[in-house]
C-alpha cells in the first residue's frame, strides 16, 4: 500500500529532505494570527467548471476551507466500454480545481469513507514540506484528516495521491489527480504588468490510462481495483497508454458537453497533467497569453500555437475568441488526440469576421486554360 519510506523514492528526495529551504527553519506559525484571519468555505464544483472566485483578491489573506471526499468507483473510459476502477477526489476525474490567492491559507479536509477499500493521501505541488503534505494526510477507509498550507507561490499546480512506492503511479493513473490555482492578489498581468482578466475559466485535466487487454485484445474487467493491479502494472511499465483523455473519458468535453463561449469573450484554460507530458493546441485559435509552466511570477508567453505542459504540472492559457464556430482543443500529438481520446470542443457563437478569414473562391473544378 503506502509507505512513508517508499514515498521517499530514493536519493533525489533524500537530497530535498536534507536541504531544508531557509525560510522553513524554525518558522513556527503564530496560530493566534492565523486563527484571527477571516475564514471562507468553498464548495467545489466538478470539472471542467470552476467554483466562483474573485480574480483580484478582496481584502487581506484568508483561511480558505475546502472539503474533498475520496470516492472509489468504476468509470467508463470510451465507447468500447473500457472500465477503470477509478480513485477520485470528490468523485470526479480529474479532481476539482481549487482557487485561492497568494498568502491565503488552504485548509483541506480530506475524507476517506469506509466504503472505500484503499488508503489515500494528497501531495500538493503548491505546498511546502512533508512530501507536499502527503506525509500528513495518509488516511485509511473510515478516516479523515485536515491539512493547512500557506499559498506562498502563485500559479497553477497539480495535486495528486502519493501513498508510497508503486501505489503512487497506480493511484495517479487511476484518476487521482487535480489542480489548484493560486492567483496573485492583484490578479493576472501581462508581460508589462498590465492587468489581464477572463470572462470564463475552464479546467481541463488530462489523464493517461493503462487498461489491460485479454488475449483477444478486448479490455479486461476486474471485480475491484486490487484485482486489476498486477495486470495494470504490466501495461503501465510499457509506458504506452491505452487512453489519453480529457475530463476522465473520451468525448467527455464534446457534443452536448462541449465548452461554450462567445466571440469577444476571454477564456482562461487551465490544463493539468499529473503524469505525462502533453502539448495543448486550440485548432483555429491561439494562446494569447500562456503560462506554459503555469507560474504567474513569470511573464506569459504570447501568441503561441501549441504549448507544452510537463507531466506533473499544470499550465494556463488566456485566449479571446475572435471567430465563431467549433474549435477543437487537442493534445497535438494527433494520435493521442484522435485515436486515444485527447480531444475537447469549444462551441463559439457570434459574428464571422471576413477580415480575419474569408473563402475567396469556393471549391470547384480546377481551371485548365
Amino acid at each position: 500500500m503506502f509507505t512513508r519510506r517508499e514515498a521517499l523514492m530514493g536519493v533525489a528526495t533524500a537530497a530535498i529532505l536534507t536541504t531544508l529551504p531557509p525560510f522553513a527553519v524554525s518558522a513556527q506559525a503564530d496560530e493566534a494570527v492565523i486563527n484571527a484571519l477571516p475564514r471562507v468555505k468553498v464548495k467545489l464544483v466538478a470539472p471542467p467548471f470552476v467554483h466562483a472566485h474573485d480574480q483580484v483578491a478582496v481584502g487581506g489573506a484568508k483561511v480558505v476551507e475546502f472539503t474533498m471526499t475520496i470516492v472509489e468507483k468504476p468509470i467508463i473510459l470510451d465507447d468500447e466500454g473500457a472500465t477503470l476502477h477509478a480513485m477520485t477526489y470528490d468523485g470526479s476525474v480529474p479532481g476539482p480545481l481549487m482557487v485561492v490567492h497568494q498568502d491565503d491559507y488552504v485548509e483541506l479536509t480530506l475524507i476517506n469513507p469506509d466504503t472505500n477499500s484503499l488508503a489515500h493521501n494528497i501531495d500538493f505541488h503548491a505546498s511546502t514540506g512533508a512530501l507536499g503534505g502527503g506525509e500528513l494526510t495518509l488516511i485509511n477507509p473510515g478516516e479523515q484528516v485536515t491539512l493547512r498550507f500557506k499559498a506562498t507561490r502563485t500559479g497553477t499546480f497539480v495535486y495528486h495521491c502519493a501513498p508510497g512506492g508503486p501505489m503512487i503511479p497506480w493511484h495517479v493513473v487511476s484518476g487521482m489527480s487535480g489542480a489548484i490555482m493560486i492567483l496573485p492578489r492583484d490578479g493576472l498581468k501581462d508581460e508589462k504588468g498590465a492587468p489581464l482578466s477572463y470572462d470564463k475559466v475552464f479546467y481541463i485535466g488530462e489523464n493517461d490510462f493503462y487498461i489491460p487487454r485479454d488475449e483477444s485484445g478486448a479490455y479486461k474487467s476486474f471485480e475491484s481495483a486490487g484485482d486489476g493491479y498486477e495486470d495494470m502494472l504490466k501495461v503501465m511499465r510499457g509506458l504506452i497508454p491505452t487512453h489519453v483523455v480529457f475530463n476522465g473519458a473520451k468525448g467527455s468535453l464534446t457534443g452536448e458537453n462541449a465548452m461554450k463561449a462567445k466571440v469577444g469573450e476571454t477564456v482562461l484554460i487551465v490544463h493539468a497533467q499529473a503524469n505525462r507530458d502533453t502539448r495543448p493546441h486550440l485548432i483555429g485559435g491561439h494562446g494569447d497569453y500562456v503560462w506554459e509552466m503555469g507560474k504567474f511570477a513569470n511573464p506569459p508567453a504570447k501568441d503561441l500555437e501549441t504549448w507544452f505542459i510537463r507531466g506533473g504540472s499544470a499550465g494556463a492559457a488566456l485566449y479571446t475568441f475572435r471567430q465563431p464556430g467549433i474549435y477543437a482543443y487537442v493534445n497535438h500529438n494527433l494520435i493521442e488526440a484522435v485515436e486515444l481520446g485527447a480531444t475537447a470542443h469549444f462551441k463559439v457563437e457570434g459574428d464571422w469576421n471576413d477580415d480575419l478569414m474569408k473563402q475567396v473562391d469556393a471549391p470547384r473544378a480546377i481551371t485548365t486554360n
Partner: protein, 297 residues
C-alpha cells in the same frame, strides 16, 4: 480462534503475573504426508507483544504500546512455510491462482509471490481437503511462535511534536541503513534454521502474511490506552525480519509498497491448525474457557 488474555502496558518492561504461565517451548508433531504438513505445538506462555499498526498521541505518531499477552492454550502452527509443491497442489486443484513466477521454482522452497488473498485461498483448500480448520496466524500468534526471532516495529524513532520532519529523517536513516538482503531468492525449506520453539525459517528472506488487519489508533494523552481505532482490513500485517504492512492483493514485496519498513524480499505464509472440535468434552471446556477470556485481537 484462541483469544489470549492481554493487558496493555506502557513499555516492554517485564510484568510478572501471578498465573502459572511459563515461557512456552515448542514441541514438534511427527512428520506427516502432504495433506498433514509437519507442525509445531506452541505451548502456553506469557509474552510482551508490541502491537502492530500506527499509533497517534495528541495527533503525533508514537511507538505502538506493548501488550502483555497470556496464551492459555497451546496452538499448532506449520513448522515450515508452505512450499512450492504444497501450493502447486492447490493451483492444480483449481483452488489457488498461479503464484508469480520466481526465478527458481524448486518444490521444497517456500512459495513466494503470493498475496494475502492467495494465502487465504490456500488455507480454505487445505481445510477442505483435510477436514480440519487451517488459517493464517494472527500477528500475535506469529510473534509468540517466532520467539527470540521476533522483531516487530522499531521503537527507537525520534519523535518531536514540534517538528515532524525529525521523525521522517530518523526513519529514513534507519531504513537506508537496513538495506535489502544480498541474496533475496528464496532458499530450500530449513535453510534459515529453527528457533527455540522449533519453527523453521522464521526471519529468513520470506516474510509471512498474518490474519491481522492494519490499524491506526489514537492513544489517550496520559496512558497507553487506545481511545479510538480505525481498522483497514484491505491491508494486513506481514511479519518477518521486520514488520511490514501490505495491501491484500500485493504479491511482490519488492514492488508492492508497504506501510512501514524496507520492502520484504518475498511474501509467503504458514498456517495455524485449529483444535479439532469444540464439541468434545475437552473442546467444550476449552470453548467455555474461551468465552470467559476477554476477546481483544
Amino acid at each position: 480462534m484462541q483469544r489470549p488474555a492481554q493487558i496493555l502496558i506502557g513499555s516492554v518492561t517485564a510484568l510478572v503475573m501471578g498465573a502459572g504461565a511459563l515461557a512456552g517451548a515448542g514441541s514438534a508433531a511427527p512428520e506427516a504426508d502432504g495433506a498433514r504438513p509437519p507442525t509445531v505445538t506452541i505451548l502456553p506462555g506469557l509474552f510482551a507483544y508490541p502491537n502492530p499498526g500506527e499509533f497517534l498521541r495528541d495527533g503525533h505518531p508514537v511507538a505502538g504500546p506493548t501488550t502483555l499477552v497470556s496464551f492459555e492454550r497451546p496452538f499448532e502452527i506449520m513448522k515450515y512455510q508452505v512450499s512450492v509443491a504444497d501450493y502447486e497442489g492447490c493451483v492444480d486443484a483449481g483452488a489457488c491462482r498461479q503464484a508469480d513466477a520466481p526465478r527458481l521454482r524448486v518444490p521444497n522452497n517456500p512459495i513466494t509471490g503470493v498475496s494475502y488473498l492467495d494465502a487465504i485461498a490456500y488455507a480454505r483448500w487445505q481445510s477442505e481437503r483435510t477436514g480440519q480448520t487451517w488459517r493464517l496466524p494472527t500477528a500475535m500468534e506469529w510473534a509468540f511462535a517466532a520467539g527470540e526471532r521476533f522483531v516487530g516495529d522499531a521503537a527507537d524513532i525520534e519523535n518531536d511534536p514540534t517538528n515532524p520532519a525529525r521523525r521522517w529523517l530518523s526513519l529514513y536513516e534507519r531504513e537506508s541503513a537496513r538495506g535489502r538482503t544480498a541474496a533475496p531468492d528464496a532458499r530450500v525449506q530449513g535453510s534459515f534454521g529453527t528457533n527455540t520453539k522449533g519453527l523453521a525459517d522464521v526471519g529468513g528472506n520470506v516474510w509471512e502474511w498474518t490474519a491481522t488487519c492494519y490499524v491506526r489508533a489514537t492513544l489517550a494523552s496520559d496512558a497507553p490506552e487506545v481511545v479510538s481505532r480505525v481498522e483497514n482490513c484491505g491491508v494486513h500485517v506481514v511479519e518477518g525480519r521486520h514488520r511490514a504492512y501490505m495491501s491484500d492483493f500485493i504479491r511482490d514485496g519488492k514492488s508492492g509498497g508497504c506501510a512501514v519498513g524496507t520492502p520484504p524480499d518475498n511474501l509467503g505464509f504458514r498456517l495455524v491448525r485449529e483444535p479439532r472440535s469444540r464439541f468434545g468434552l475437552a473442546g467444550l471446556k476449552r470453548y467455555l474457557r474461551g468465552l470467559a477470556t476477554p476477546a481483544t485481537d
